[in-house]
């Protein structure tokens, strides 16, 4: 509610009422902040505690001893390090491949009129609504059949199905904001569409490409269900599965589980912090605004 303030406060009553409203808004915001950020703060605090301190009564956010043991054991365990390597490899490859494919598709949508455009568009939009669980069973059969079960390519191709539709929609929206004359001019000079796209359009679309890339990376980095089902051996597992395994194996070494959770969230947190503005406008443009 935009509370418009009168130009001249008529009397102290208005001022008092305003102060009350202000206090109310602040109290609301503070309660909300505890609800939103309290659990996250507790996660961070627990990752620096010993396991006995985590459940000691009364609980303390900051203890006298500040220990990095949990982080050290994550970093010195080759198994957990491997989870991170796998996640970076898979998410990185998915990001690059998705961008390559999505940029070309978005170019076709943004700059060409062709028969079947609407149908292809509807397919791409509706793909986003297909439940992962529906695809899981045939994927399992497909990946085993193609020899891609428990391999990087198996996971990478799988994730592309979930990242592509959105990447294409966001990228098309971005291309549509750029004047056609830019790339048309090159084509008039006799260059092919391919050159127009990669030499002219792509270099000026870097901001859009970066935000689509971040979104794609986040999806791949966070995915759980397919990582659980399409990999089998411990050396192929990604971070989210690693967190689950840690919980199962080390019978509740909570400080390690929390340290792993923090480390596993850092890439996404950092990306989000740097590109927040970008990301939110891109996200809302793709899904909410038309």
């Amino acid at each position: 509610m935009a509370l418009t303030t009168p130009a001249r406060p008529r009397a102290t009553r208005t001022a008092t009422r305003r102060r009350f409203a202000q206090a109310g808004v602040l109290v609301g915001l503070l309660i909300g902040a505890v609800f939103a950020a309290g659990p996250v703060l507790w996660m961070l605090s627990s990752s620096f505690k010993s396991n006995t301190q985590i459940f000691e009564l009364p609980p303390r956010l900051i203890t006298d001893t500040f220990s990095l043991d949990a982080y050290i054991s994550i970093f010195t365990n080759p198994e957990t390090v491997r989870f991170f390597i796998n996640s970076y490899v898979v998410a990185g490859a998915v990001t690059i491949l998705t961008l390559l494919v999505a940029i070309q598709a978005a170019y076709a949508f943004s700059r060409f009129e062709f028969r079947g455009k609407r149908i292809v568009n509807v397919i791409i939009v509706s793909v986003q609504a297909v439940p992962p669980i529906t695809l899981l069973i045939p994927y399992f059969g497909l990946m085993v059949g193609l020899g891609l079960y428990n391999t990087y390519p198996g996971l990478i191709f799988t994730y592309m199905v979930f990242t592509l539709p959105y990447a294409i929609i966001m990228m098309t929206g971005y291309f549509n904001t750029l004047p056609r004359e830019l790339d048309e001019a090159v084509r008039v000079d006799g260059a092919g569409s391919f050159t127009a796209l990669w030499r002219v359009l792509v270099p000026i679309s870097i901001p859009g490409i970066v935000s689509v890339g971040i979104y794609t990376f986040m999806i791949a980095w966070n995915e759980f269900l397919f990582a659980l089902t399409l990999t089998r051996t411990i050396d192929m597992r990604t971070v989210p599965i690693g967190i689950q395994l840690l919980m199962g194996q080390h019978s509740y070494e909570w400080n390690q589980i929390m340290a792993m959770s923090i480390l596993g969230s850092i890439p996404v947190l950092v990306l989000f912090l740097f590109f927040q503005r970008f990301f939110i406008s891109g996200l809302t443009a793709g899904s909410v605004k038309s």
């Binding site: 808004v25 609504a129 929390m258």
Partner: protein, 309 residues
């Protein structure tokens, strides 16, 4: 999402001095467009169309995947699933979980967006609070699940603060409400961020006009804010219905569908049929039914978007 295009200048005319016939030009354009679309179309065909056909095929057969020569059994699997009380229990749980989550996401997201948009706070506190409120959105479901398992442990901080000793995730009465609560915590920021963007896009003269007409803040909310945000709200609700009803990891990592089947969702029910009982035919049947339900919402979403364009 309409793809707005302008008619390009006739490059043929410029290059050769002769206008190309419309037909050749269109054919070439279409051909070229499909060259650029081909990687996408191949991927979607192999990894979307083929699997959907496969899973529908599986649902009419017996002993798929594990057996080299499955038998056609017609609609038997559908009869078996639709008469399975477990399937209906999972459907009921999914409905409760989804509807409660989406309603709470909307209420919380809108409340926080309104608070953050209030003119009574300065720019700096607003930025700080916005950063804090977005936090739950930035953690993956696996992290959110283990975090809340720790917070909700019998000797954990939640029980300490409430002065209780409750097994939140193991209680038959409370487990479903508890996983729903966790999902509410995890999902409201998407609504908040989108609605905040929507609020900032409402022209202020609408509010000024309403104030001149003597509307109270409450009336301004119901008669200006809500109608202006309606299209965004409908989009968000439909998207969230699709996403929440498909939630798997959160349930799997907190309760696993238990105790017994108190928090079993359609996603975990289907998963267990396939990868715990190895009954891939039944699992496929359940998966096809889940697909049909999602598609109903998807059709509504696409129609809503079309209407907005």
């Amino acid at each position: 999402m309409t793809m707005r295009t302008l008619t390009p200048p006739d490059t043929e005319l410029i290059v050769t001095g002769r206008p190309a016939s419309r037909r050749t030009r269109q054919l070439r354009k279409a051909g070229e467009a499909y060259v650029f679309l081909s990687p996408t179309l191949i991927l979607l065909f192999v990894l979307m169309i083929v699997p959907i056909v496969m899973v529908i095929g599986y649902s009419f057969q017996d002993n798929v995947i594990l057996n080299k020569s499955p038998d056609l059994v017609g609609a038997d699997n559908y009869v078996a699933i639709l008469t399975d009380p477990g399937f209906w229990k999972a459907t009921g749980n999914t409905l409760f979980f989804t509807l409660t989550s989406v309603a709470a996401h909307l209420v919380l997201g809108l409340s926080f967006a309104l608070l953050l948009n209030s003119r009574l706070i300065g720019a700096v506190p607003r930025a700080i609070f916005r950063g804090l409120y977005v936090l739950p959105w930035l953690f993956t479901v696996a992290v959110i699940a283990v975090l809340w398992r720790m917070l909700l442990a019998p000797n954990g901080i939640v029980n300490f603060l409430l002065n209780t000793n409750i097994e939140w995730l193991a209680s038959p009465q409370l487990a479903l409400g508890t996983v729903t609560f966790i999902n509410i915590w995890a999902g409201y920021p998407f609504f908040m961020v989108s609605l905040l963007a929507g609020l900032q896009g409402i022209p202020s003269d609408l509010y000024e006009a309403a104030t001149v007409d003597g509307a109270s803040p409450v009336q301004r909310f119901w008669n200006v804010t809500v109608p202006q945000l309606r299209p965004i709200i409908v989009s968000l609700v439909l998207l969230d219905l699709i996403w929440t009803s498909q939630q798997f990891a959160l349930i799997w990592l907190t309760t696993g569908g238990g105790p017994i089947d108190v928090t079993e969702m359609l996603s975990t029910f289907t998963y267990k049929l396939a990868f715990a009982k190895y009954d891939f035919s039944m699992a496929s049947t359940s998966a096809v039914l889940v697909l049909a339900m999602s598609m109903i919402v998807a059709v509504l979403y696409v129609r809503h978007q079309k209407a907005r364009d």
